[in-house]
């Protein structure tokens, strides 16, 4: 399915970054505002799907030489690792910790281990969605 739609290709290149940025914003906003790993991950994969529609699979794979299956594994490790990490401190599985940290540029920021867990979710969602779409696309 070789397409050559110049307008779509040009706009999608720009829009892609906007969507990804928005997705990352959603992901980080998750703890306080609507958003989080699921939406962030889905939105990011939505952006990649847009590229897939504009270009063909080969170009996109060249642009993102990522093995999405491995991404799924990394995501699951993140999630389990965060949950199991609390065992090291002798507190029950899945106990999260949080605290405020003052960073040099950004000022006062609160950090959560929940964020790490959400990162796992984010990666798994991207990994699975892209695995599905890419394998289906490649099988043509």
């Amino acid at each position: 399915m070789k397409t050559n739609d110049v307008i779509l290709q040009t706009t999608s290149k720009v829009v892609f970054f906007m969507i990804v940025l928005f997705a990352i914003h959603l992901f980080f906003a998750g703890h306080y505002n609507p958003g989080g790993g699921f939406v962030g991950g889905l939105m990011t994969s939505g952006a990649i799907v847009l590229l897939l529609l504009a270009f063909d699979i080969k170009t996109v794979v060249k642009g993102f030489p990522i093995d999405y299956i491995i991404l799924v594994g990394i995501g699951l490790l993140f999630a389990v690792g965060t949950a199991a990490g609390s065992l090291l401190f002798n507190i029950p599985f899945f106990t999260h910790a949080f605290g405020d940290v003052t960073l040099p540029v950004l000022g006062k920021t609160s950090l959560h281990t929940a964020m790490l867990f959400d990162t796992g979710v984010y990666l798994v969602v991207i990994g699975v969605t892209m695995t599905i779409i890419q394998t289906i696309g490649e099988s043509e």
């Binding site: 306080y32 505002n33 609507p34 699921f38 969602v125 699975v128 599905i132 289906i136």
Partner: protein, 113 residues
């Protein structure tokens, strides 16, 4: 509103079941999609509708809607996406291999028992 939603949910589920009982693979998949929509609406309706602000503490409202059903549904949405995708691929692979999308022809036969 809840009564109206109950009726909508009933309609969604009834048509989902009807589609799932038909013989065509694609209709079955669409049926499962409708089924999950119905289930999600059912859960959120059970939690009570419009009883307060969105469940964000930033809203600083006096009352919030029930956050728990929403969390459950969020999980369910993603899972139903995964399952639907799986069904789709299963269906198209089965169609490719067997050359039919008629459930009756896919029946397990005696020899495979």
């Amino acid at each position: 509103m809840e009564i109206l939603m109950s009726l909508v949910i009933g309609a969604l589920l009834a048509s989902a079941v009807y589609l799932m009982l038909s013989k065509s693979l694609l209709r079955i998949i669409i049926g499962t999609g409708l089924l999950s929509h119905g289930a999600h609406l059912l859960i959120i309706t059970m939690g009570g509708l419009k009883r307060g602000a969105a469940p964000l503490l930033g809203e600083e409202a006096a009352a919030y809607v029930d956050p728990l059903p929403q969390a459950l549904i969020l999980t369910a949405i993603v899972i139903s996406f995964g399952v639907t995708a799986f069904f789709l691929v299963l269906a198209y692979r089965a169609y490719q291999e067997l050359g039919t999308d008629n459930m009756d022809e896919m029946r397990g036969n005696e020899a495979n028992d």
